[in-house]
Structure formats: C-alpha cells, structure tokens
Subunit: 672 residues, 2 copies
C-alpha cells in the first residue's frame, strides 16, 4: 500500500461548517470559550484558581530584559517546581517566579491554536490584535538560542531536559508547534511559526539518533504529531525525522527514563515501570493499550502520522493493533477512554465501570486526532464510526450547552449523593466546573470545536472521503482546479444528506461513509456513478457534469445496544442510541434512583423534539417500570415478586446531560 498518496489534512479555511449543530458550537467557542479562556490565562477570573500562564511568559520576558539591560550573567533561581498549593497569600500579584503546573505554557498554545482556526473562518481584527500582542510576549520570552519553556527559563535553564519523564518541555514544544501552525494557517503570520521552528531546531540539535545526541523522548507525548504538522507546513524533513526518532526510541532498553531516575529502578516490576508513559516497550511491540490515556492516543496519532509520511507499514500495523486493543476492549460507548482515575489511565481489559469512569474529555479528543490519521492511511469506516461517536458524545459532554462550564471527567452514570459523600469518586463531579487548576480540557475543546470541519473529510488523489455528514462545504483541488463540494444535512438528527458537486473537468471519486448505525440507505445518483462499497464507504465515480447533485438517505433509527458480557458493569443492561447520539436518563425527567428503572425493549420508542437550555434535541420515550422498595421489609428479605410501577422513561442526548441542574444520570439502563 502507498500510504503517502493521501495529501495533508484539509485546512480549516477550506471547509465551511453550516449545520446548526456544529455552527452554534463554533459560535460558542468564539463568543464564550475563547474570551473566557483568555481572561483565565491572564488570571482575570475572580472565582477561578489563577492559571499563571501569561504571568509566566511575562516573568520570563522580564528576566530576559534584565539580563540584556544589565548585561549580567543569567541569574540562578532556586529550582523548585511550585504548584498552586504553594502559592503566596496574594494570588493576584505573584512575584516573578514560575507558578502553576510545569506544563502551564501549553494552555496559551492551545488557546492560540483555537484562535488560529477561528480567524481562518471568521476574521476578527480585535481578537487578532490580542493574539498578536500575546505572541509578541511569548516570542520575547524565547531565549536567543531558541529554547522556550518558562518553567525552566524561570527556575534554572541549566536543568533543562533533565526530567523528560515528569516535566513537560517536549509536550509544550508540541503545543507550541500546533498553535503556531494553526495561527500561521489562519492568518498567514509567521512570527509564532518561526518561534516554533527555532525551538524545534534547538530540540533537534539536542535529541536525535546521531552519536553524541541525547536519546531521550517525551514523558508526555504530543511532540510526535506536532512535529509532523510543522513538517507539513514547512516542508522541512528534519521535523519529521525528529518525530520518527522520538517514536522509535521510545521504550528501548535500557530505559532512557531510568538514566534520569535511577532511584526508581526496581527489578520486580521492570516491565511495568513505564507503562504510564507507554514507554515500557518499543511502540511496535506493544500488545496492550496501557497507561495515561491522553498520552497514549497522542502517541498513537503521532505514530500514524509518521507511518503515513514514511510509508512505514510495520508502524501502521502497530497502530492498527493498538486501535483494536483500545476500541474492542477499553472503550466506552460514548467514545470515552481511560477507565481509572489512578494515573488517568486505561484499566485492564473489559474493565469499564460507569460510575467511577475517568473518560477524560482530552482523551476522547486525542482519540479523534488518532482516528482521522488512521483514515488518512486507510479509509475504513471503523475509524470514522469511533470518531463520530466521540465527537457527538464523550467530547461534547465535556462542556455545558452555554459553553461556560466543563467536565474533565465524563462518567456514564452519576449519582450526586455519591459524588458528595464518597471520596473514592472524588474525581467525578456532579456538575460542570468553571475552570480547573489543571486546565487541559477546556482549551482542548476549544481547538477541537473550531477545527471540527477538518475531521469530516480527507482527500487522496482525485478522491474525496466524506466521513462525517455535517452540513457545509469543502474546497478541494482536482487536477489543478478548485472544486466545491457542498453537503446539506440536519445531522445528527436526520439521516438525509444532499451533496452538490461543482462542475469537474476530470474524474472525481466521492467515497461516502455508511455509518455503522445506519440500517440501510437509499441513494438517487445514477447507476453509472455508483460503485462498490468497500470498508464501509460507498464509492461514486464520475465527472459530475450531467449530474451535479444527489441525495443519500441513511436510515436513522434508535438502536438498542448491549455489551460483550465480559464487561462486568453492563451485564443485563442496554444503551439506547439514535444515529451518532448516545442517550441517557436523567433524574429531572425520570425521578431519583435511576438504578431502579427497567426499560422494556419490546415496546415502541417515541421520538420528540425537546428543548434543553434552548437547544432543540430529539428525546426518546420508552416503556418500562420502576422497581419499588417494599415497605417494612428491611435491608434483606426473602425473594418475592417485585413491586413495580409502570413508567415512561424519557431519554435525552448524553452530551446534553446536566444542563438542567445537578441530578442523577445513567447511560446503561437495566433491561426488563
């Protein structure tokens, strides 16, 4: 297979998103999330823990200027990582030290990435001015040699790259590259891109396969995929090579992290020591998805990038194996991954508890990154089905419908009493939070929403692959001519899709994903155009002169889903889905003690339009019953016929839960 035949991903500016569902969310990102986050990065949200992100850049600038002005030697501060917990009394006027988590710089980079996407589709002079001014500060913080990480700049540059395992320099490099690429693509401005290249060059001089260079690799992966983006925009192969080096070096014996942390070497758990970092084995030998789930999928996405661009079939094979290890054994039906809060990690196979789940928003976002990259190599709808599931469910659940509050953790069952009383699930919040000390998820959501169109399509030679049916348009180049393909739909609520193709002077193949949830489809295109279905895609081929538009209709009905019985927590339970949307029961519709509800799947299901916080969604009403307590029978009693109350169960989209106050929620319902 020639994996390189795929061109680079579409740019945000090549895609218009027109459907109500996503368009409103992009507007939310523009009007709510981005301004709020900018205020947060500048510690201007009175009720939130300070971020210190821009503070740290400014403190680094000040240090640079002092050095320049006074011409003195670099001052040597005490090397003490300081968390929020070690803050001085007056949080609003921190001194010129570094504050916050070691990876605090990355919050700005994620913000500027989202801003870059926004400016690509929606010019905004004021926002651009703010962004440019912020970029000026960041670039001024950069060292003359190219180094750029405020944690080490402020705490002692002599210590850089001494703790790749736990601190996050290369992760910050990754986000810098992603932000810089997006801002360049959105505005044409190179300043941050040049800074990213300069830091990447510095890193490339330090790390690499060549003799004498450091053989380390990121403790928190991301640089792998980010360096590929830098390569794709600059054409500089050195960035691709550096990414490939990080991937190939990872997990080799003796462990690089052991050299940094000899005190942690314990022979008895030799093979497990770096599972958290996916660095326990070379990536091509990994036979289970393990460790911190965000790190894992960022790595896997970078592996897919490198596999595609270096035509490395073995590496792609490793990605494919890992894909199945995740999605066949460690994957929530909402698109969530990472079942345990301990290490924010994958648990063992088939351990998918609903109420104690971690399922971090960022992990689902990373899964979508990975899925699109797999599609770029091998257009198989299994990747797109997962991508769609995560986008419409486990990612969107991370944000209130008003864009003002966020879940970091996305369980599939929430009992507020347990959240308040049970320290074992201290990680589960029963309502979304305004901001987080470790604020990785909200800016990650912002960059995902503002670039969501780029996940709908990929192209390869004269073929356009349509993975997601969001209404809008994509501009592609076929044999040197720009053509527009327009998609009309009311996804995710209806399976009707219309596609318009502007006149093409040569053959264009349209490969349309047939979603796994669809129980059939009808298409009105001429037979001559309609080809085979392969790997879940219907291929249409023609010059689109006699016919320039057609409709395809996917049968979108409710689906009642059960789980492989090896998943202990879902035995005897079903989940209800409709098209891409996973449904859940909420207390506000169904009363307390959702665990006493049983759904009768033999009865018809009613669909209604319902408003939740002004968003129109389709709700489902099912028949079932509620098991009632038996008065006076105490805690345990001899089995007897349950006292049952017939009920209608109303289900709403999972992503929209907890927008009507704190209450119980449950995805997996007991089957009557």
């Amino acid at each position: 297979m020639d994996m390189k035949k795929f061109t680079s991903p579409f740019l945000v500016k090549d895609i218009r998103v027109e459907d109500k569902f996503w368009k409103e969310r992009i507007e939310l990102a523009r009007n709510e999330v981005i301004p709020y986050q900018w205020a947060a990065l500048n510690d201007e949200i009175p009720e939130a823990a300070p971020s210190f992100c821009m503070h740290n850049f400014k403190a680094a600038v000040k240090l640079n200027n002092e050095k320049t002005a006074k011409g003195t030697a670099f001052k040597e501060p005490v090397f003490t990582p300081r968390g929020v917990e070690a803050l001085p009394e007056d949080l609003r006027n921190p001194d010129d030290n570094f504050y916050g988590f070691v990876f605090q710089d990355s919050d700005f980079y994620k913000w500027i990435e989202a801003v870059g996407y926004l400016l690509a589709i929606h010019p905004d002079a004021e926002l651009e001015k703010t962004a440019d001014a912020a970029i000026d500060i960041v670039c001024e913080a950069q060292q003359e040699d190219g180094y750029l990480d405020t944690f080490y700049i402020l705490n002692g540059k002599d210590k850089i790259f001494t703790n790749l395992r736990d601190f996050h320099e290369l992760y910050c490099l990754g986000h810098l590259c992603e932000g810089a690429v997006a801002y360049y693509q959105g505005t044409g401005k190179r300043k941050l891109l040049d800074a990213a290249c300069k830091f990447a060059d510095y890193v490339g001089d330090y790390f690499g396969p060549e003799e004498g260079k450091c053989k380390g690799y990121p403790g928190h992966e991301l640089a792998e995929l980010a360096l590929v983006r830098l390569y794709e925009v600059t054409g500089e192969e050195k960035y691709l090579n550096l990414s490939k080096f990080f991937i190939d070096e990872r997990g080799k014996r003796p462990y690089y992290f052991d050299k940094e942390h000899p005190q942690d070497i314990k022979n008895d758990i030799d093979d497990l020591r770096y599972q958290y970092h996916q660095a326990h084995l070379p990536v091509r030998e990994q036979d289970e998805a393990v460790g911190h789930s965000v790190r894992a999928v960022y790595l896997y996405a970078g592996m897919a990038d490198v596999a595609r661009l270096t035509n490395d079939e073995e590496l792609f094979k490793a990605c494919e194996i890992l894909w199945h290890l995740v999605t066949d054994k460690k994957y929530y039906i909402t698109g969530g991954i990472g079942s345990t809060h301990i290490g924010e990690a994958f648990s063992y196979n088939y351990d998918l508890p609903n109420d104690t789940a971690y399922a971090e928003t960022c992990a689902s976002i990373g899964l979508v990154f990975w899925a699109r990259r797999m599609l770029e190599i091998s257009p198989n709808s299994k990747y797109a089905d997962v991508m769609e599931r995560a986008l419409y469910n486990g990612i969107l659940s991370g944000m209130d419908l008003d864009g003002k509050a966020f879940f970091y953790v996305n369980p599939l069952e929430v009992n507020p009493e347990a959240c308040h009383e049970d320290e074992r699930i201290a990680h589960v919040k029963s309502v979304r939070q305004k901001w987080f000390g470790c604020a990785c998820c909200p800016p990650n959501l912002a960059r995902m929403l503002t670039s969501v169109g780029t996940y709908a399509y990929t192209e390869s030679e004269n073929s356009l692959f349509v993975h997601l049916y969001m209404a809008g348009a994509v501009k592609m180049n076929v044999d040197g001519n720009d053509i527009n393909i327009k998609v009309s739909s009311n996804f995710p609520w209806s399976g009707e899709v219309k596609i318009d193709v502007s006149e093409v002077n040569s053959e264009l193949t349209l490969a349309l994903r047939i979603p796994a949830w669809s129980k059939g489809y009808t298409i009105d295109a001429p037979d001559a155009y309609v080809g085979e279905v392969k790997d879940g895609y219907l291929y249409l081929k023609g010059d689109w002169t006699s016919v320039s538009n057609f409709a395809i209709s996917f049968k979108m009905e409710t689906q009642i889903i059960q789980t492989n019985p090896l998943v202990r927590d879902n035995v005897g339970k079903v989940a209800i889905l409709r098209g891409p949307i996973v449904y859940c029961a909420e207390e506000v519709d169904n009363g307390k003690n959702l665990h006493n509800l049983y759904v009768d799947i033999t009865k018809p299901i009613r669909e209604d339009k319902t408003l939740i916080d002004n968003e129109e969604v389709i709700s489902l009403t099912l028949s079932g019953y509620r098991q009632m307590p038996i008065d006076g029978s105490g805690l345990y009693y001899e089995v007897r016929d349950d006292v049952r109350e017939e009920v209608s169960l109303k289900l709403v989209p999972y992503y929209a839960w907890c927008n009507r106050g704190e209450n119980e929620m449950m995805v997996w319902l007991r089957k009557a």
Copy 2:
C-alpha cells in the same frame, strides 16, 4: 425497664463448646493461631513484617532499669512516631527505640486475652508459663506511677495524652483491661489485672468530670467497654464512672480534639470533622452510623454496657437507634460493616458495593460484641440474628480453614485480575495473608474464637436465654444451685436441637431464640412448659423435674434473599443462604467470569456434603445458565438473544471460600 436485672456475661469457663464446627476452630486457635501469633509478636516469623510488640515492651523495661540503676533523670528521646516504613536496615535487631504502629502494645493484650480464654477451658502449663513470663515483662515496663504505653514510655513521657485523637493510649488501656480480665478469669492470677487497675487508676486520676481533670476521650474507642469489664470483675465503680465519662463527654462542643489540633479547625465542615471518630456529636444525638466502623461498634458496645449498668434508658435508646441505622442501611448480608476503605469507614446509606467493600474482620467482631450487649439489655432475636450471621460468615471468612492466613478485608465479590491490576481496590486481597503490619484482625479472631461460647447465652434472674445453638453446655446458678443445661446440635448444618436440663429446685425459664431464617419449628416439650413467643424467643418455664430434656427442630432450608432496591449494587441479584450460612460461588466450581452466571430460582436446589480442605460442609447446587460472549460481535452490538449455556451452579459457604487456591468469588448472583 430494669436493665440491671441481667447478670454479667457468662465466663468462658462456665461454657463448654462441643460441636464439631466451633470446637475445631477453638483447636485451631490453640494449635495454630496462638503459637503463630506469639512468634509474630516476637518477630520470629521470617517471612512476615516484624511486629516489634514484645521488642517495645522489652525496650521499655530496659529503659526503666537504666533509670533505676543509674538513678538519672528520665532520658528524653526524640518524639518521632516510627512506622514500619521508617525501619533501619536490619529489621531483626532493632535498637531500643519504639517501632511499629502506635498501638502495637495492643497486639499482646489481644493475644493474652485469647490465652486467658484458652486456659479457662484447656489447662496448658507450658502456654501459661510463656504467658506469665510475658506478663512479667509487660508489668516491668509499667511505670511506677501506673502509666503503661510503650510508645510514650520510649518516645517521651512528657507528651502523654497530648494526642488522644490520633494515637492510641486509651485504646491500649482498653485492650490491657480486656486481656487482664480474661487472664485473671482463666487462671486466677491477678498480676496483669493489678497492672490494668493501676493504669486505669492513673487514667482515672487524669480524666474525669471533676474540675481540673482533663476532658478528653479516646480517639479510638474501646476503653469504654473494657473499663466496664474491669468494673464487673473488681466491683470498683470508679471504672464504670470513667467509662460513662468518656461516653458522655464525647462529641461535646467545643470539641476536645480541636484543643489538641487547633490547626485542623475549618468552619466549613464543622460538623463532619470528627465523624471518623464518632465524635462529631454527643452520642445520644447521633443520627447516622459514621466513620471508622471498628471504632464505631466498639463505642456502641461500650454505650450498651453503660446503659445497662447505670439503667440509662436514654443511652439504650441511642444504641437501639444506631443499631437500626447500621443493620437497616449499612450492613452486608455476611455480617460485614464498613463499605469504604477510605477511613475504613461506613459509607453513605445503602452504599454496599460488593467488590470494593472493606468489611473488616475486626468490624464484624465488634458488631458481635455490641449485639451480645444489646441482648443483655433487651433479649430480642434481631440482635442475635445479626450476631449469628456475623459469626458464621463475615468473621470466619477472615481466616483460612487451616488457621494460618487471614483476610483483613472481606468483600462479597472478588475478581483476582482486578485485585492485581486495579489500584483502586488495592485493599482487597485475593488470597489470605500470613500476617499484617497492622495486625489487628488475627489476634481479634483468636480472642473471638476462644470465647465464642459466651455469645451463645445470657442470663437474667432465673432465665437462660439461648441465642446460638452450638452444641455444648452452660453452667448457671439458680437460687444458689449450680445447674447444667446441655445443648446437642449439629449446627450450622442441621436445625435439630436437643436440650437437657439438670434437675432444678426452683423455676427456670428457658428462652429459645427462633432464628429469622427458620421457616417454622416443632418442639416436643409438654404444653405446660411452653409459653409465649416474644421478640423472637420462645419462653419455656418449669421446674424441669418431670421433664428434663426436649427437642426443638428449626426448619433449616435454603433461602433466596434479595435486597432493598435502594442498594444499587444488588439490583436484580439474589444471595443464597441456608440456616446461618451465607453461600457464594467460586471459580473453582463454576469457571471464570462468575458475573455471567444466572441462577434460576424456580428450580429445586440440591444439598450435598462436600469436603473443603478436609472440612465437611453442605454445598448447594442450583440450576441456571451462563451468558456466553457472541463471537465476532465486538465490544458493543445491537441487542439480540443471549447465547446461553445451561449450567449447574455449585455454591459453598462464604466463610470457606478461597481455601482451594486463588479464584473468583461472588455472593450476590444474578437472577435469571
């Protein structure tokens, strides 16, 4: 009500335990547990973490002798509590400092208590000699003023009673009293009893309601019930008064523990701060069973003692309310209590997870202590039913059938893979352990087993209450005459009971508990003897001259039990019981993935005699099916008819699980 009409509990020597079930366990305690524990207390078990218990006593003796010999001032060691984690390299030759947990002394006291019970029923000159020699060391460690806690003796006596909340001086006093009383009652030797009185006097001089005395109370309760035992054997009211003071002072505002730990005062959680210690409210006002469950039931037992002996109906009412709060809302069917490992504590109401349960062996033991004390005040079978359930299930599960290994934690569902892979249940062990750093449970089991007969009976005026039908005999005094009541049974396997009463010269009432599990009973005593059934007891009254023996037969059949539907983890599940015994499924009998088994409760249940590690038990065989994975259908798929394999489910007594190797276990089974 006159609560004082009950006499003191029976002494171990007044009761003979003859049935095979308990007799073998007492022999195990004598032949395995007691010698092993003695070796452990002396750090002579190579494969176990050292206890340092006797080491600490000896170090205290050495310090005393040095002080005496040299006539110098008390040396002032650094006040540093040292845990096992801070041990010097050579664990086998510790220096003269204190090592181990702050409550390490109590391990000896629990051991000597068990030895006292053993010697009462089974003279053993060698064991007595060992015990006497150990007592000599302990008494030599006691300070001239009566103080006796090696942690403070070795670390700085000037700090005594400065941290009642976290350290365990008064807890150690409690165990000293209990051990001393038992050893005195078993051997007639007063030396340790005198030491206990001396320390109790010292404590009584320091604490009390009188002006100028300290208003503190134990952070870990136990002294309350132990001082009552000291009172009952010495007749000294001051010990009863001290116990009453501790109980009444507890939870008063301002909190005593706040005076010790002003830095911990946070207004926002004012009422919760000392829930862990049951010191958040005065005991008479507590409206939920909260905090560390062992501490809780030790306190409640002491409250019942004081209520009885001071005829305090309000205090008894508080006990009764707490009894229902525990047994109606926070009680496992095995007699386990304490659902969460965080704080080894009660969780919120109806939160009774099976796989993450704590259900500490010691907590069930404490529950039995409390139950008998409630029976001494108010003979109601609801107390005895719980006592029996805990004794035959949640307590015995704490020990291997060979008496050589122990569970600290007794969950109702164990998946060894989860125990190995999932740090969230690091507290759950899939096989019993040889010993524990915090070795509270094994010696607690030893003292429970060796005194088990004292839980079978209570007496009141001319009435004998028979709570448990273990075969054996009890000697009681009626109007100045010793009479013997002999019980024959094959409990817990058969409900047939024969009772012989030696000739009585006055009226004797026998009150026989009708177990809640019994679906009826037949009795062959003359009608003239048989009176009413009240609070679950059948009252027989007569002079037992014309009739001196009779039989009562309780219908012992399997019971299929379900749970109040408010318990989330047991919805749709049943537990199988037979008489006092709770059953479980093990992997060794039923294959892996017990969660895929469904039991058909409409089919007959077969009973068989089965050997488990040479113990003959009754196993049960039920009909049911196993839900099978559907090949190739992945993790999630549209609901379809399950693939089912008909199976016979074999169940064995819960207490006997994990005696045939590491394997899955499950009490609550899915109902077909």
